[in-house]
Amino acid sequence: MSVLQRLALNDEGFVFDPATGDSFILNDSAAALIRGLQEGLDELQLVDRLSERFLVEPEQATSDVEDFLVQLRAMRLL
């Protein structure tokens, strides 16, 4: 199971890694993206989700998703 798949995420954005004990707090958009990744969405689908749910322009959503994925890779979650 990948790190991302095993993360436990609650409705308030609290994330817990049951294997290492690491925990994070996510804002609403980050939580939406993590859930999307856990559902297996690709980058384009994540952009669509962010655009629709948070009413942002696709260009902004693309940039935000790219940024977020870089952060996840830096944290070894992806």
Partner: protein, 361 residues
């Protein structure tokens, strides 16, 4: 269930705590066990011996380094006075004596559940690579140094930063060669040689507490991560986790060593790689955490020793928080004086009827 008299050491519930209070609380959690708990202390100010809601009576012991004969004789006195059935030692300094004299204690009617002397020796930090290999684990590069020439070679070979460790106690991070030399000299002065130089492994530090049955079987495991540590490196708060690689590594350790008794493995985990950095052949001070989340290892130890039904699962919820706190209590000078002058504290009223022979303390 038979009534048992259990002696527990390590009742120094201080900022550098022994496991005794945690062991005693764990035993009290098992309401089916009919126990009298006897506190065994090296210092009349060990807080645990005054916790009369956990400990029924207490005795002082001589230091194990003083005289083995005196130590055994004292245990015999306590046996005659209280009917002591078994002892759960919790301090590194006393383990060699208990292991060496396990047979004699058994013949006196005092049982223990401990590893063999060869297994105990594996805890020495210079034995780590061998122990790790036998258990299918990784170990950080570890070099044993006996003089400063060897130290300088080790610094070059291991690379900075690194850890400088005493053979049994203390570990210090050194970012420069000068720091490493300073720690080496201090460890040498305090504990003697040799001194260990060890590479730093990147990853998350996870700890596992467990209990081996001496035949390769495991009577339970709990894996935790320290979230707050004291300056002495002791867990002040923690969280339960379930790292599959770590738990498998602990099972492999128990099987490979046919380990008997309690143990704690301290490892660094990086993705699936598990590096062993230390092993403690006793319960850790945080053992009550494991008991409170459903894996009561002290209770299972007693049950196994006396052929009682015993759970062996490792079923616990992850994300449970452990929070240690500081608690103030008042004891009477009379109790302290009694302990200093006679070496024993009076038994709790409820425990009096359970002492089998001899004069009641």
């Amino acid at each position: 269930m038979p009534s048992l008299v259990v002696g527990i050491t390590g009742l120094n519930a201080t900022d550098n705590p022994g496991p005794g209070v945690g062991i005693a609380r764990s035993l009290r959690l098992d309401s089916e066990l009919d126990l009298v708990i006897v506190g065994l202390a090296y210092n009349a100010l060990e807080p645990g011996i005054y916790m009369d809601w956990i400990v029924d009576t207490s005795f002082t012991l001589p230091y194990p380094s003083a005289s083995a004969r005196e130590y055994i004789a004292r245990l015999w006195y306590i046996k005659e006075t209280t009917g002591l059935d078994c002892v759960i030692p919790g301090l590194d300094a006393e383990l060699p004596l208990f292991i060496r004299y396990a047979g004699e204690l058994e013949s006196m009617g005092i049982r223990t559940c401990l590893p063999t002397m060869n297994q105990f020796r594996l805890r020495a930090k210079d034995q780590l690579p061998q122990l790790a290999r036998q258990s299918g684990l990784s170990a950080p590069k570890t070099l044993v140094v006996s003089d400063e020439t060897e130290l300088w070679s080790a610094i070059e070979e291991v690379g900075l930063p690194l850890y400088v460790k005493g053979i049994y106690y203390q570990a210090h991070r050194a970012a420069t060669a000068a720091e490493a030399v300073g720690w080496y000299r201090r460890l040498l002065a305090e504990w003697g040689g040799p001194v260990i130089v060890q590479a730093i492994v990147q990853g998350d530090e996870l700890n596992v507490v467990g209990l081996g049955d001496g035949e390769g079987g495991c009577l339970g495991l709990v894996c935790t991560r320290k979230t707050v540590v004291t300056p002495q490196g002791k867990m002040w708060s923690g969280v339960t986790v379930r790292h599959p690689g770590m738990l498998k590594a602990a099972e492999r350790f128990v099987t490979a060593q046919r380990w008997r008794g309690p143990f704690e493995l301290e490892c660094i985990v990086h993705e699936d790689e598990v590096s062993l950095i230390e092993i403690n052949p006793r319960f850790p001070a945080w053992v009550y955490f494991a008991s409170a989340v459903g894996v009561n290892l002290p209770s299972r130890m007693i049950r196994q020793m006396y052929d009682m039904p015993c759970d062996v699962g490792s079923d616990y919820d992850v994300g449970q928080l452990f929070l240690r706190y500081s608690y103030d209590m008042v004891a009477s000078t009379e109790q302290y004086q009694r302990l200093l002058t006679t070496g024993q504290l009076p038994a709790r009223e409820s425990a009096l009827g359970q002492f089998s022979i001899g004069e009641l303390p």
